[in-house]
Amino acid sequence: MLEIRDLTLSYGERVALRDVSLALAGGELLGVVGPNASGKTSLLRAITGVISPRRGEVRLDGSPVHRLSQRELARRVAVVPQNPSLPEAFTALEVVLMGRTPHLGLLQSEGRADWAAVRRALEETDALHLADRRIGELSGGERQRVLVARALAQEAPLLLLDEPTAHLDVGHQAEVLELVQRLCYREGKAVLAVVHDLTLAAQYCDRLAMLSEGRLVACGSPHEVLSPELLASVYRTRVWVFAHPLSGRPVVTPAMDGTDQRGQATYRQSGFTSESR
């Protein structure tokens, strides 16, 4: 489905990604993690052809992204951007309908197939009741559901999400990620999600890719990627990793092991070390 080979990307002099290689198949949910400015969003922009790579290439079902027209690309990749601007006067339904753009000709109006796709997307995201509301009246969580619905209406086999849980409370975070999981497993979509929260990423993704300063430093199961040693070097802070009591997947929190950044004692906890698992 998605194949990234030796991708190097730069904005002028600043290199955003260096020699990144990744592959993703249908039915797979890959979480991309890493500190701020590590190249996560740049990776998404390269996949959607917004910036062209300096070296290497991105292929979708074998065809290089830069050879595809904007329209063909949008039929294969749907994006849920992070906190995008949405015109407040449009209704949620109108915004979800925009997801059908790559399937419609210039003078064509939406037909039965389009309405069916939009309806399914609204149902899937539990947003049917929001359809008539104006974007300006929606809460953050509702906006996020509308954006996911728009991406679903696009009916693309690859779904990219840029921090879909940012600014959401824990209930909405779980809701959005469970939806993403369902799309992936039940509909066989390939999903690549940038997730800031390491614990959330570990709970919901089968595979994690960790970026640091534009390089792919680890890729594998959450257990392999979220080792305290790697996290300490990538995030430059000591963390505490332990197993979730139900899922067994890693949970990551700051170490709180008695010193703050200036080396002053702040908090003392006995019986554990940051290396305990």
């Binding site: 959607t48 052809g49 917004v50 027209s69 904007q70 329209r71 690309l73 949008a74 039929r75 990749v77 749907a78 994006v79 951007p81 995008p84 601007s85 949405l86 015109p87 407040e88 006067a89 449009f90 209704t91 339904l93 109108e94 915004v95 309908l97 925009m98 997801g99 753009t101 790559p102 419609l104 210039l106 003078l107 109006s109 039965r112 309405w115 069916a116 939009v118 309806r119 049917l128 359809a131 008539d132 104006r134 300006g136 696009q154």
Partner: protein
Amino acid sequence: MATPPLAVALPHRSVWPLGLAVAVLVAAVLVGAAVGPAGVPLDAVVRIILSRLTGADLAGGLPRQWQDIVWEIRLPRVILAGLVGASLALAGATYQAIFRNPLADPYLIGVAAGAGFGAAIAVVAGWDFTFYQMSPLTIMTFAGALAAAGISYLLARVGRTVPVTTLLLAGVAIGSLASSATSYLIISSGNKGLEIYSWILGGFNDSSWQRLWLLAPYLLPAAVLVLAHGRVLNVMQLDEEQARQLGVNVERVKLLLIGVATLATAAAVSVAGVIGFVGLIVPHFVRLLWGPDHRQLLPLSMVLGAAFLILADVPARTIAAPSEIPVGIITALCGTPFFLLLLRLRQRSVF
């Protein structure tokens, strides 16, 4: 299995706003043809127009003079005002959509200032020739308008893209450069200065059936192309990156639509001068009443822009008859209070 109907209302595209707008336009045409120093009754206007259009003899018994006034003098002027109003409102709505800026108007990227500069050169040079029925003033205005917009566009290019903010700033810069050059020509050329100035303010005092051909060939393709992009312009209201991700070739759409809107504006300015306000306010007026869907906004703006300018031209030529008040003064004077009232009544966000 048939898909059950969507449980929510589809965004209805009802025809009544367009029907209403067309009715307003027809009424404006009739009023425009009837009102003037020599009053012609409305029913006579209708009979004269129908008899000319159908060839049937419906105007028998009406004074010959009325027929000439309505058909040869007023109607060309009314239709020219309508075409100019439609061009400016369409271009304004297009610019507002592409720049995603409620303050955008057809003169945003230097068209007005370039046109004024071209006109000033033509007047100061005092050329006297006609080229395919175009006066030096018409040619220079059109050329000046296109040159200013073209230079702004080239200056704003960054690689293969033209960021709209850069284009806007380049347009403002080129516009003020051309304006200051025009101002210099106005104050340094004595009596000709007034001629330049009154031309820039705009009006329809030398209308004729032939003059319509200076504008119609630009308005028609612009209207077809822009209206065809109604749904695409809706998508572009998100932002350019999202529009791209939804499959829109953003740079091509921008170049095409800015191009045709600018050509229509330049042609409108070359026949009628720089008439302000129509291109800014008419699209907002439509948006306030009927919402932001461009599939509806664009045709309604054209029709109501035409009606508005036809009606504004009536006081422009009658209040101080036999001399004329520049129609741009009327558009601002009549339109502003009405628009502000509407703005206060509808407080919800519409842009």
